[in-house]
Symmetry: C2
C-alpha cells in the first residue's frame, strides 16, 4: 500500500467516484520490481507475462525499461508492439495456437514460439518458417500456492522428439521452458527443474541438436498474507542451480515474471454491501463485498490465493467471516472453508482494501455477469 495509492483513493472518494470497486496500480512499484528482477538475475532476459496485467501503462513502462514480453495471443502481441516493444523482444508463449494466429504473429515480425508437441511444431513450420521454438516440459510444481496442472508441457523424453521434429522441419530448436508453479515460495524449486532441463540439453546434443536457451518461466511470488523471500534470494539460488547443472556452459536464460512484476503494485478498493448471519446461533458472519469471483477475484477459486485485507477498524477484535461476492451465484464465495477474520466492528458501507491485487484481476473480470460492470482500473 503506497502513499500514492492512498492519496488517489482519498481524492476519488472526495469526488464521489467511489460507487464501484476499483483496482489502483502504482507504476512506481512496477518500476522497482523490474529493477529488482534485472538486478537479481542480471544474465537473464525478462519477458513480462502480459496476461498478468496488460494495461497499456504497464506495458509502456516496461517497454521503456527494456523488458521483453511473453504473450498468450495475437491481441497481446499487438499490445506489446503498440507499447513500443520491437518484435524480437516478443515471444508467443502459449503452447496452444491456431495456425492462422501463428501466421498473423509471423506477419507482425514474431520469430519466437513456444511448443509442447509435434503437431504444434508442424503448424509453426508451415506458418512461421525458420522461427525459433522452445519446448515446454512438464514439472510437478510442489510448493506452489497455485500449482499448475498438466495442461502445458510434455515429458522430457518427448521434448527431445519435439525439438528434433522442429529441426527436421527447418525451424531453429532454441531451447526448453518449464514453469515451477505460480506463487512459488520455495527458492529451490528451480534447482530440480534446471536438472531436468540440463538432461534434455544433453539428450538433444546426442542427436546433434544444440540448444542454447532455458526459459525458466514465472512463478516468482508476490506477498499476500505470508512473507515471501526477496527476489535476490531467487536470483542467487537460480544462479547456483545453473552452475551446478550446466557447469561452465551456462545457457542463455529467460524469466517470465507476471505476478511477481505487478501483484504487489495493485490494491482493490471494495465496499461492504451486507453483513448477516444465517441463524441466531451461527458463530460465523457472512460479509458480502461489491467484488467477488466474477468481478476480478477469480484466483480465490478453491480458496487458492488468500489476499491480505485492510479495514478501517484494524486493531479491533476479530471474528471469523465467510467472505462472498455480490452476484446471485452461489459459487461466488471467496473464503468459506477457512473463514477470514475481520473486525467485529465492521459495518455495511465500510471500504476495504484488498492488497496484492495488481496481477490476474482486471482481465479475469466477467463482461457483465449479473449486470455488474467489469472492474474499473487506474494505473498511476
Amino acid at each position: 500500500m503506497t502513499e500514492r495509492i492512498q492519496e488517489f483513493l482519498r481524492n476519488r472518494r472526495n469526488e464521489g467516484h467511489d460507487v464501484e470497486p476499483c483496482l489502483v496500480v502504482d507504476l512506481e512499484v512496477v518500476r522497482d520490481n523490474y529493477q529488482s528482477f534485472a538486478k537479481a538475475l542480471p544474465d537473464s532476459r525478462v519477458f513480462y507475462a502480459v496476461k498478468a496485467n496488460p494495461a497499456s501503462e504497464v506495458l509502456s513502462l516496461l517497454a521503456s525499461m527494456g523488458s521483453c514480453f511473453d504473450c498468450a495471443s495475437v491481441a497481446e502481441i499487438q499490445m506489446a508492439l503498440a507499447a513500443g516493444a520491437s518484435p524480437e523482444r516478443v515471444s508467443y508463449g502459449n503452447t496452444i495456437k491456431k495456425e492462422r494466429d501463428i501466421a498473423r504473429a509471423f506477419a507482425l515480425g514474431i520469430r519466437l514460439f513456444s511448443v509442447d508437441c509435434t503437431a504444434e511444431v508442424e503448424k509453426i513450420a508451415r506458418a512461421a518458417p525458420g522461427s525459433k521454438v522452445f519446448c515446454r516440459i512438464l514439472y510437478d510444481c510442489a510448493g506452489a500456492e497455485w500449482p499448475l496442472s498438466r495442461k502445458f508441457g510434455c515429458d522430457p523424453e518427448m521434448a527431445v522428439e519435439v525439438l528434433d521434429a522442429a529441426k527436421r522441419l527447418g525451424l531453429e530448436p532454441y531451447g526448453i521452458s518449464f514453469h515451477v508453479g505460480s506463487q512459488q515460495r520455495k527458492v529451490k524449486a528451480w534447482d530440480r527443474a534446471l536438472a531436468m532441463a540440463s538432461s534434455v540439453f544433453r539428450d538433444c546434443a546426442e542427436r546433434g541438436i544444440n540448444l542454447s536457451m532455458v526459459n525458466m518461466g514465472g512463478g516468482f511470488p508476490t506477498k499476500y498474507l505470508k512473507d515471501v523471500p526477496p527476489v535476490v534470494q531467487y536470483g542467487r539460488s537460480i544462479f547456483r542451480a545453473l552452475r551446478k547443472h550446466f557447469g561452465n556452459q551456462i545457457p542463455e536464460t529467460i524469466i517470465e515474471p507476471g505476478r511477481g512484476m505487478v501483484g504487489n503494485a495493485g490494491i482493490i478498493e471494495t465496499e461492504v454491501v451486507l453483513i448477516s448471519k444465517k441463524s441466531d446461533e451461527d458463530e460465523v458472519r457472512w460479509v458480502y463485498l461489491d467484488i467477488g469471483k466474477f468481478g476480478g477475484l477469480a484466483e480465490t477459486m478453491d480458496e487458492s490465493i488468500r489476499y491480505a485485507i485492510r479495514t478501517p477498524h484494524d486493531g479491533a477484535e476479530m471474528t471469523p467471516c465467510v467472505l462472498a461476492g455480490p452476484t446471485c451465484d452461489s459459487a461466488d464465495v471467496l473464503y468459506e472453508k477457512l473463514p477470514y477474520p475481520l473486525p467485529v466492528t465492521l459495518e455495511i458501507g465500510d471500504k476495504l482494501l484488498i492488497e496484492g491485487t495488481g496481477a490476474y484481476t482486471s482481465t479475469y473480470s466477467s463482461v457483465a455477469f449479473n449486470g455488474f460492470p467489469p472492474l474499473r482500473t487506474y494505473h498511476i
Copy 2:
C-alpha cells in the same frame, strides 16, 4: 440443435466469419420454453432470471409474451424495463444490494425486493419505503447438479423475525422464497421446500403477519448429457405439493426459470486448436478448444456441468480426452477428472458444437483474459 442454428452456422462459415467461437441462441426455442412453463404452472407468474442470458432479444421476446423479470442488479432492471417490462413486472431478486442501488431501483418504480436478513430490510425501509419484500430461506439442494451454497437465505426461524422487522418498518411482508438448486433433476425437491414454506407461513400468521406469496425460485433443468423430466412433470409435482402443504389456501406463486428458459436454446461453436499427448505412453489425449472456462464455460468449474458435444466424426470410435481451453491458465481445463470421450478421428481445425449453452455462458465470459475477446453471441 435446431435447423435454424445449423443454417446460421453454415452461412457464417461460408462467409468466413468463423474465426472465433460463438454462441447462437434460437429464440423460437425460448418462445417454446416460455409457453411450456406457462402451461405447466398456469397459476404461477414467471419471473425470468435475467442473469441466465440478458440479451436484449431474449428480454424483448419474453416481455412481449407477458413474462416478468427477476433482476440481480440495477443494470439488469434497466435492461428489463428497456425491453418493455413495466416496473410491476420486475423484482430486485438479489439479497445483496447497496442501499443506493435500492434507491435507484425504487426511483425506477421497482416495489418488490428480496431479503434474507434484518440489515437488508432496514436498507429497503429507508430507500424503498412501503415496498413488498420476500425472505429467502435456506434449503439444502440435494439432487441438484449445481447445488447452491449457504450464500443466500436464512433459517426459517430467522425468516419470521426478518418479515416481522419488515412489517414494523412499514414494508409489506409479502412472502418467502427458496431455491432447490440449479439444474435440479428431482421433481420432488420442491415438496420438501414447500413444506418448509408453509411452516413459515403458519409461524408468521401466529405473529399476525399474513404472507401471500411463495417464490419457488428456479432450478428447472435443461438437457445436457442426461435426460431431464419435462417441465409438465415439475408442474404437476409442484401443484400436488402446494395442495398438500397449503390445503385450500394456496398462495400466489412465482417461478424464476433461467437455465430452463434459455439453456437448450443455445449452441456454442468452437474449434479444435490442438490435440496432443504428454508422453508416448499416455492413453489420454489432450484436446484444446478455442473456448474454455474464461471464455464462457465457467460452469465447468469442478466439472459440474457436463455439456453434450457434437463433432463432425460422430459415430466413429471414441477415446477418452482431457478437454481444455485456450488460455495460458492451468486452471482452464474443462474435463479432466472424468475424461470426455471424443472420436479418435478428431482433427485440429474441426468445429465442435457444445449443446445446451444458452444459459450462463455469454456474461460469464472474461473481459479480455489472455487477450481473448468475450464470447460473440447471435440471437436468431
